[in-house]
Symmetry: C2
């Protein structure tokens, strides 16, 4: 154990995890199976091969293997930018006047600007191994697209990125980063796919959504020989790769004899949240500890807090398998908020199941409250957070303020997934007080729920 708690704690290369942890192995009740959209029957691994590369399809379906070895090449790549630091937010604590101890795991210290690189490099590695010749994906805020562009450039695999149109317009520089790494970036919906054309026909001015961009990327993948689709969130395989965040965090906390009372992460599709909480949730599932686990989502896209736990398509175009998850309906078109990475109608099936079974809590915030937290954090900790990450900051600050009231010295851990360098349009709107909060009405949601697929399970 380290005697003194440093501001930033980095594991050594020797201490870095050599295996990913598969949370599903320890779930007493497993997630409901994916359904094949054409038969509405549980999907088989081979059904996924036209879309995903085979090793990733196997990871997607594996409910039992507890640990997966991280291939050595991926370990080596991780060493280029990992371990990420576990940081004690001494200044933020002081500014809040809280007795709580606030820690955050900072994943923004790499050019992709976020945790997304952890899964991107893994997915491209397996694609290369299988001899695939190109990849497609979608991106919301652009963090996943950037990470994947880096990974594809590293392995020299051509990449097409469908970028949600409102992000494409809000973040012109994100596009250039991806292009610098060699990616072909297309605003979605686009006229390069059938699904894109059909969405544009109905609503030519739409800002797009992750669900719609996913449809386009999948269509492109299945209609191009040697091409497959990769996804930066929601999927089980992604949570598996992202478990490195939580494994490193837990190990670093052990070095300073700490254990979180509360673990907080922002939730869009669940990639960071699922990765961060993995080993802590394991403790909870195995009855070894009982940390509170809190998902923070935007009030404009409240899958956990106002969604239905139901079978739904993962995309707008209804070409993906159906997953049992918290969803606002695949036709839900979120308002153009600035946390583009959280504008997704659904949620990781693993996290949805755990939330449904009472292992997790969820809260939602309006974006002005989130940016207030972001600016306070930036001024105290000198890291300018991504709007997505700032949701977790807001959650952590509110937990710390509760501790101030109650006088409890709780240990709070949150995930700071990325930096906001490409979100200056949003910060400008906040600075200039032109930022607006959007909350979907009950009527809007009810209408969206009406579009849920008619599966026997969906009552």
């Amino acid at each position: 154990m380290l005697k003194k708690i440093p501001h930033r704690l980095y594991l050594t290369e020797e201490q870095m995890p050599k295996q990913w942890y598969n949370l599903r192995a320890d779930m007493k009740e497993k997630c409901d199976p994916l359904l094949n959209p054409s038969t509405m029957q549980p999907i088989k691994e081979a059904d996924l091969y036209p879309v995903f590369c085979e090793k990733l399809a196997a990871q997607e379906m594996d409910d039992d293997t507890r640990y997966f070895d991280i291939p050595e090449e991926i370990q080596d790549f991780y060493k280029m930018y990992r371990p990420s630091p576990l940081i004690r937010a001494y200044n933020l604590e002081k500014a809040l006047g809280t007795p709580a101890k606030i820690y955050y795991k900072f994943e923004g210290n790499n050019t992709s600007g976020s945790h997304k690189l952890n899964s991107a490099i893994a997915q491209v590695y397996y694609a290369k191994e299988q001899g695939l010749t190109s990849l497609t994906t979608e991106t919301g805020a652009g963090q996943w697209g950037t990470a994947l562009s880096e990974a594809c450039s590293y392995y020299n695999i051509p990449l097409t990125v469908y970028m949600v149109k409102c992000s494409y317009e809000q973040k012109p520089f994100r596009k250039i980063v991806m292009q610098t790494f060699g990616a072909n970036v297309i605003p979605s919906p686009s006229n390069t796919t059938n699904v894109g054309r059909s969405i544009l026909e109905k609503d030519p001015l739409t800002g797009g959504s992750l669900g719609c961009a996913i449809s386009e990327a999948i269509e492109k993948a299945v209609t191009t020989p040697g091409c497959r689709y990769v996804l930066g969130s929601v999927l089980n395989q992604v949570l598996l790769h992202q478990s490195i965040i939580g494994l490193e965090s837990k190990q670093a906390m052990e070095l300073i004899d700490e254990y979180p009372d509360v673990v907080i992460g922002c939730a869009g599709g669940g990639s960071n949240l699922g990765g961060l909480i993995a080993p802590f949730m394991q403790d909870k599932l195995l009855g070894k500890a009982s940390p509170r686990i809190v998902a923070v989502e935007p009030a404009s896209c409240p899958s956990f807090t106002r969604g239905r736990y139901a079978y739904d398509f993962c995309d707008t175009g209804k070409v993906t398998p159906l997953a049992k998850m918290y969803t606002l309906g695949s036709g839900f078109m979120p308002s153009p908020s600035h946390a583009g990475g959280l504008r997704y109608h659904g949620m990781s099936p693993i996290l949805s199941k755990l939330y449904h079974d009472g292992y997790m809590e969820a809260v939602s915030y309006e974006q002005t409250k989130v940016f207030e937290a972001a600016v306070l954090f930036a001024k105290q900790e000198t890291i300018l957070p991504a709007p997505e990450s700032a949701h977790a900051i807001r959650g952590a600050i509110d937990e710390a303020l509760k501790c101030k009231e109650s006088g409890e010295a709780k240990t709070i851990l949150f995930g700071l997934t990325g930096t906001g360098y490409f979100d200056m349009t949003a910060y400008n709107a906040y600075n200039e007080k032109t930022m607006t909060d959007y909350i979907p009405s009950d009527e809007d949601l009810a209408k969206s729920f009406d579009g849920l697929p008619k599966v026997s399970d969906n009552k």
Copy 2:
């Protein structure tokens, strides 16, 4: 000693330097004194008090004190984002096929995006200690302005930043970051100062320069009660604070039993270069080792390689003391290249003296060659470098390629001062092949040299 060389080496908090190193103490021949612009006589410390806070003026004039204790508050602030990693560029080495070992010290892992925070926090700390109520500065690329905005926000001191106009226009988001940290950002030349108005009168369409922005910031400081001016480069005090880069680098290299054969840094005003090389130059001055030390500058603003070693003003408005340095003439208006942080007519007097006395080399590159190196580096090491930093990358790559020819396994250390997140306009120009190289003609330089002040020393 560590047995295995890791990809990224971080010192522990205990290993972090607790003193800055003052290179001047070990110089056999000291720099020529600053001259008072009204008397042309050597300046006294108290002459600087109207412009600089007193502790910093003392550091500026001190040729003898070898080590300065870093105040504890600054040490604590450093721990928020330091130590910065020393990284072995394994992938870049492989891509180049060089036997050379390439290391870089990466200073971009903080929100300011560069090494500038090292001096910013020190200068604001001393200003606060003296009870000053506001500060002014200039910024080129925006890295210094961002760092200082962070530091001022931390100590709650109002800040006015004069930002070189062409950077202000090329990098709109930089401005917003500074504003998010509470700074008042003004494009320079502006009509808020006499010197700005007079420059605009002569050339209303000028893109501005660091020299001109400095004049404006100083005018504002000396005409505002309780206000002082702070500067992010050139000055002796800045090189003192930045010595932490070199001290950490040297200590990290000792842990893996390495010592550089060549140390390479980009050179604008000299803040990073002077900090990076400090302890290695000490070894050279004391005859303990003889590493080559190489400054890399833009061909569009070639102070070392084509400038004169002469007394000159540090600003365009001729309000600063005169320094003996390599200069292109304070009236030199560099072309609007994308490495805004290197667009300065002069050079640190310390580095100028060392270069003049043969302790250093210098090379210059055109910007397309620099961006070629930047993109290669980004694809291999997954860090998108700032255009300024990419000059050092270009230098390091060319040294590594020489090693490939000669078969020598030299150890190369370079400074990666910052990230290019706010330089996407430049990357876009490079990607789209619309980037142009500008090299000043001999006639232009001769004309600019004609404007050098008539001091007996300037032959």
